[in-house]
């Protein structure tokens, strides 16, 4: 604590203890009701079968979990989730890094460029997805229109199970690009000017400068982006709900979407199975974050 203060008298300290709890109370109540209780309740629901109306009816132990493990559908969901993370995180972070590095090579109009690359940030997941649904439209979409000018296509961007996940990933990469560029630009901006100047004076430029100075110095920002992008990808919902509803043939049904489908779609109210999947989701998110902190963080330079 940077603040130095004289030791107050005991009575006042007692009052201050009370005040501290009073100040924490609003947050604690919200967390207890909407995070802690639901957390426990999710585990509880996942161990119970539902009656006709979705209420937990009888204890079934680990049955929902063992059912999931033996379900080919659910394994497919896990694979789809992993692929979606891969398809969005890797190109999303590398693409943004490339753009930011190119903008660093002392060219004109950097500010304008930066603003242009930041534009997608203005789009919410819903607006971006709705726009891409117009683009991807098999019959009237602008994408197939452009392809047909080149004598190609038409491609069933969202209706062909070979393409759908990639198409959803592309819309996600585009949507997140603005944010990624903003974060990395800020990261570059915080690299002390003397370091890059010194390197430049020594004749380092272009790739060498990027490889030996900029990228290592961007470590914390890159690390942050990878963690955030992974967690975001694991929790992606809106784009899948708007673009494909998990189809065709389950090819875009990720873990979160599967939770939604079991719990809320088609009037199904299968809260037991959905809760078991939600627990799996939680474990996956926590495991990914932990692994990234364990593996990646050690390689990151903090200036």
């Amino acid at each position: 604590m940077p603040t130095a203060s004289s030791p107050p008298e005991p009575r006042r300290r007692l009052g201050e203890h009370g005040l501290a709890w009073a100040f924490l109370l609003p947050s604690v109540v919200v967390f207890a009701l909407f995070i802690l209780y639901p957390l426990g309740r999710t585990f509880y629901l996942s161990a119970h079968a539902n009656d006709l109306f979705g209420a937990p009816s009888r204890y079934v132990g680990m049955k929902h979990y063992t059912d999931l493990l033996s379900s080919a559908d659910f394994r497919h969901t896990l694979v789809t989730t992993a692929l979606f993370v891969l398809f969005t995180v890797v190109p999303g972070v590398l693409g943004a890094l490339l753009l930011v590095l190119l903008m660093e090579s002392r060219i004109r109009g950097v500010r304008l460029l930066r603003s242009a690359f930041a534009l997608p940030f203005a789009f919410s997941v819903a607006s971006a997805s709705v726009v891409f649904s117009v683009f991807y439209n098999p019959a009237s979409g602008v994408l197939n229109g452009l392809l047909s000018n080149l004598g190609l296509g038409p491609v069933g961007w969202l209706t062909d199970s070979k393409w759908a996940l990639l198409s959803v990933a592309v819309s996600t990469i585009w949507m997140n690009l603005g944010y990624n560029v903003l974060v990395l630009s800020a990261g570059i901006g915080s690299i002390p000017g003397e370091i890059t100047e010194a390197a430049r004076l020594d004749g380092a430029s272009g790739l060498r400068l990027a490889r030996s100075i900029t990228v290592p110095m961007l470590g914390p920002s890159l690390f942050f982006l990878v963690v955030i992008s992974t967690v975001n990808a694991l929790q992606s919902f809106g784009q899948i709900h708007i673009l494909t509803r998990g189809g065709p043939d389950g090819s875009t049904r990720t873990l979160v979407y599967s939770v939604y489908e079991k719990a809320f779609a088609y009037g199904s109210s299968d809260f037991g199975t959905a809760s078991a999947q939600a627990v799996v989701l939680m474990v996956v998110v926590l495991a990914c974050t932990a692994v990234q902190f364990g593996v990646l963080e050690r390689k990151v330079h903090y200036a």
Binding site: T3, S27, F31, S127, L182, I195
Partner: protein, 294 residues
């Protein structure tokens, strides 16, 4: 923390001869411009098309291959979108909901952060650890019980249902705690000598002096609430209670929607966030990268 270990490597003198390097640099520069130009066109095209398409006539936008530039500017898509769904009302809902969440989170986070920094507390580390732990729970994983709780209270399809779960934030507390800790001890002591109690010190001195951190948090919270999709999708049922984001999605699914109408809806929804991106980038970066500062 870790020192920069690779610095000496950079200090090596460039081995390549001077002249070819310049040529290579010039070629390289052209390449850089080319790559950036392609990238800008790719990234900005969707944005351009949203605006172009929003002003196209239905037959123009449905033509195959599609038109790229509107031949005659029409506003009919906008009136169509506003008629297809209660867009204005949904706009208001989004502003209200995101605004309420932002104000509430600022308030609860300021109080909690103050308690952590300036008030004595037994087990402070444990409690703060619990606050941080709330950040580790993915919202999607606990959405089912929350939905059941709030609909059980009869708050489905209400503003309460939309905002209640988001009135406090471990992230906001964390962020403000970082900021409050930087507060100079002398200033605080001076305030106490002047007879300022905790409440007055907090609102009269601390909060005004931490405006940048509060603004960053406010922008972050507002944007994430504004962009919410999963929760408003399941907790609302009627078009009148839905937020703009859900409205856009239902506009796409509605039977009278053609691409122009959808894009017009998107244009309307973009106005506030686009203004923020174009004119308030600095604040956004501060707010959004706050988590990166460790």
């Amino acid at each position: 923390m870790t020192t920069l270990t690779k610095a000496p490597e950079v200090a090596e003198p460039a081995r390549a001869a001077r002249r070819p390097l310049q040529l290579r640099a010039r070629l390289g520069r052209a390449g850089v411009y080319a790559v950036l130009a392609v990238a800008v066109l790719t990234v900005a095209f969707p944005v351009y098309y949203v605006f172009a398409g929003a002003f196209m006539r239905p037959d123009e936008i449905a033509s195959y291959p599609p038109a790229m530039v509107p031949h005659s500017v029409t506003g009919q898509n906008f009136s169509g979108a506003v008629h297809a769904i209660p867009l204005v009302r949904q706009y208001g809902n989004s502003v209200l909901v995101a605004g309420l969440i932002t104000l509430a989170q600022l308030f609860t986070s300021v109080l909690a952060a103050y308690a952590f920094v300036f008030l004595p507390m037994r087990g402070r580390a444990v409690v703060f650890g619990l606050f941080l732990a709330t950040l580790m729970v993915p919202w999607e994983a606990i959405i089912i019980p929350n939905y059941l709780t709030l609909s059980g209270w009869g708050l489905g399809n209400t503003y309460f249902g939309l905002v209640l779960p988001f009135l406090a934030s471990g992230f906001g507390t964390f962020l403000l705690r970082q900021s409050f800790r930087q507060f100079p001890g002398e200033l605080r002591d001076a305030a106490r000598i002047d007879g300022a109690g905790h409440w007055r010190f907090l609102w009269r001195i601390l909060v005004p002096l931490n405006k940048p951190a509060l603004a960053a948090l406010a922008i972050y919270v507002f944007l994430s609430s504004w962009n919410q999709y999963f929760w408003p999708l399941i907790i609302t049922r009627t078009a009148e209670m839905q937020t703009l984001q859900i409205g856009l999605s239902s506009l796409r699914d509605s039977e009278m929607a053609d691409p122009g109408l959808i894009l017009a809806g998107v244009v309307l929804s973009l106005l506030p966030t686009l203004a923020l991106v174009l004119f308030g980038q600095r604040f956004i970066v501060r707010g959004l990268t706050a988590g990166a500062v460790r």
